[in-house]
Amino acid sequence: MCSTSTTTSPEISTLVEKWRGKKGSLIMVLHELQNHYGYVPRDVSLQLSQQLDIPLARIYEVITFYNYFKLDPPGKYTIAICLGTACYLKGAPDLVDEVKNLLDIGEGQTSKDGLFHLDVVRCLGCCGLAPVLSVNGQIYGKVKRSEVMGILSKYKKED
């Protein structure tokens, strides 16, 4: 089906052989690729399409359906902001807005310098601290909009 010629990396061939002919092979291969690269690069998807004889459109349908799969490289620091009920009521949407404005990115995107990635999540497990955001797992509680810039610049300096 797919005739686009790209050179195939041996790792992908090995992966494909491991899962070929098995039920749900596409999702299993995508999982391994996501874990390996931290996202699913387009040229890898193109190779996968050829090797598994699955149209690229179907691969992208699966990748974009599940939150787990990413299309862009992850940032060095992943900012997760909780929009669960408690955080939402305590003003988390303001924090999302502020991060978007400061970094000029949308949800699920990575800043141009590759430093920050923004994810919106449903609970970080510490509702008592709402609103909560975390940077690479480090939790910040009772965050005010005005404090967001300070938190981010700390990581910028570290870099």
């Binding site: 797919c2 686009t4 179907r58 992208y60």
Partner: protein
């Protein structure tokens, strides 16, 4: 058989019939936005909900098989209310741009909103911020107007096997797009336009180029010429209230003349010419170069695009003949221009096609500039012409018939059946028979290549030779035919076919992506019948006996497949990437 009751009316239908189809049988119309008669149900819009006695759930009629003794209510106050809410919810995500939309006055969502008397925005409007895509130059994809019914995706993936369109993301963010949000022009899209023919709204429409044509018609420096394709004449009437299949050739000529075209030609002449060239090509290969068999037809630009992207290993056995549209194009700006002492640079050639891909074909390679300039300037769809006739204030219904212009207007019955699946094969076999045997057929109709089965296979006795043929339409059906050829070539076995015809659109051009909306198999059959009927009434039914074709060869081209023909009427193929990024 299953017996049940719909709104108290007894209905008896075969097992497996959906409630939606059963209701049609007893003249009950259940509204739907996502279900199309060509396609399996996706149950995505939720408008066709009905009640079944004994259940407190509302069921979707499009995907629920009717059961024995079911008592179904299709319309009551509550159902109508729920349907209205569903429409209001769809409208809340849909731009309020009806007046400037390509589907204005012919939109399934607009009609439903009108039928339900929607008079206000029940919910805050939240149209997704998505960009329009015109990169193919043939169709315009405006994903904001998409209602996620899935028809275009199903057609693109399951009917055409192209997989240019897909559903990305999910829930509220669901959108139609090629893989990875690239443009359609960078995707495997073959521009067949079946997505636009099946879309219930204005999310996918043809790229309307009528304004460019009006501009040319106003330019006193321009000598405007037009040609009309076979399938246009039996479909355009639908836009003016004629019965499907009504053949309106004479009215179209008359309307085009009134619009200001200086010369009116017929693509059917080009079809006759294609047959002379292609039958010659076939007979030559059949007798002297069997390694270049099976010969595969090349009149359909979407099919050519599909082959160049997905099956470029077949490019050497493709017929090198240009399509009828392109042949008339090249001859208008060479032969006709010389005859009339016209400067090709000042000529403006418009073609009226049932097709969106023809807009691509006119620029697909340097061969489309055989006259030294672009042979065809603009290609319009049947839908665009219908609108232009209305704009021009022409009373099309009562317009007296007129004739085409000399010399690229005369055609035979063989030329006119090009517009339906199997037609090219049939026309070519008529001429090839004569070329090989030197005799006439007692019966010119080849029944085994007619009809709407996806793949038609058969054998034809041509003198001492048995010619094996296959006809496929709807690109998914091509795989079966090509796989058989590839397997035979690989194993060195006898070829399964000598001659293959392929048309991308189901039904051939009568079901083309640029034809009036609302196509079903019934409509395709009516349009096809209009063409077969014209063929049966034609005095001349062999392309090579068209007197103007003979004159063209003696005055200008020389011999079929000769040097001049090759320069003007033949083309080349290259492998193209499926994805440009």
């Amino acid at each position: 058989m299953i017996s049940a009751k719909i709104n108290g009316i007894t209905v008896s239908v075969p097992e497996g019939t959906t409630i939606l189809d059963a209701a049609k049988k007893v003249n009950v119309k259940i509204p739907t936005l996502c279900k199309h008669p060509d396609l399996p149900a996706t149950a995505s819009c939720g408008i066709c909900i009905v009640k079944v006695k004994g259940s407190n759930k509302m069921l979707r009629a499009c995907c629920t098989p009717i059961e024995q003794n079911m008592e179904i209510i299709t319309h009551d106050a509550e159902i109508v209310d729920v349907r209205r809410t569903v429409i209001e919810l769809i409208l809340s995500k849909h731009p309020n741009e009806c007046l400037t939309c390509g589907r204005n006055g012919n939109c399934e969502l607009q009609t439903l909103a009108a039928d339900f008397g929607i008079r206000r925005d029940a919910f805050p409007n939240c149209v997704p911020d998505l960009k329009s895509d015109i990169s193919t130059g043939t169709i315009v994809l405006d994903p904001r107007k998409c209602i996620s019914c899935g028809r275009c995706v199903t057609v693109c993936q399951d009917v055409q096997n192209v997989w240019a369109l897909s559903f990305l993301e999910r829930g509220f963010d669901t959108r139609i797009s090629p893989a990875g949000d690239i443009n359609l022009g960078e995707s495997p899209c073959v521009r067949c336009g079946q997505c636009s023919a099946h879309c219930p709204t204005g999310a996918i429409v043809e790229n309307c180029e009528a304004p460019v044509v009006w501009q040319a018609l106003q330019d006193p420096e321009k000598y405007c010429v037009v040609q009309i394709a076979p399938a246009v004449r039996v479909a355009i009437g639908e836009a003016f209230g004629f019965e499907p299949g009504a053949n309106l050739t004479g009215k179209i000529y008359a309307a085009l003349r009134r619009m200001g075209f200086n010369a009116i030609f017929d693509t059917n002449f080009g079809a006759d010419l294609t047959i002379v060239e292609e039958a010659t090509e076939f007979v030559t290969r059949f007798t002297t170069a069997p390694d270049k068999l099976p010969l595969i037809t090349s009149c359909c630009p979407s099919w050519v695009d599909f082959m160049e992207k997905f099956h470029s290993d077949m490019k050497d056995i493709f017929s090198t003949c240009k399509s009828p549209q392109a042949m008339v194009g090249a001859l208008t700006k060479t032969y006709y221009a010389q005859k009339k002492r016209l400067d090709p640079k000042k000529m403006f050639l418009v073609s009226i096609m049932p097709c969106t891909a023809k807009k691509y074909e006119i620029r697909r390679s340097k061969d489309m500039f055989a006259s030294g300039v672009q042979d065809i300037d603009i290609s319009l769809t049947t839908r665009e012409l219908a609108r232009m006739i209305k704009q021009a204030g022409i009373d099309f219904v009562n317009l007296p018939d007129e004739e085409p212009d000399y010399i690229l207007g005369e055609y035979t019955g063989a030329g006119t059946i090009f517009g339906v699946t199997g037609g090219v094969m049939e026309a070519a076999l008529r001429t090839a028979y004569d070329y090989v045997t030197g005799g006439k057929l007692s019966h010119v109709e080849f029944e085994n290549v007619r009809g709407f089965s996806g793949v038609k296979e058969g054998t034809v006795q041509v003198g001492p030779h048995t010619v094996k043929v296959a006809v496929a339409h709807g690109l998914k059906n091509v795989e079966y035919v090509l796989n058989k050829v590839k397997e035979a070539k690989m194993t060195g076995k006898e070829l399964p076919y000598h001659f293959i015809e392929v048309m991308a659109c189901p039904g051939g051009c009568v079901g083309g992506g640029g034809q009036p909306y609302g196509v079903t198999d019934e409509l395709r059959a009516a349009r096809a019948e209009g063409l077969y009927d014209e063929d049966s009434r034609c005095v001349i039914r062999y392309s090579h006996e068209n007197p103007h074709i003979k004159q063209l060869y003696s005055e200008f081209l020389g011999t079929p497949n000769g040097e001049k023909s090759h320069h003007l009427l033949h083309t080349h193929y290259i492998a193209r990437p499926e994805y440009q990024r």
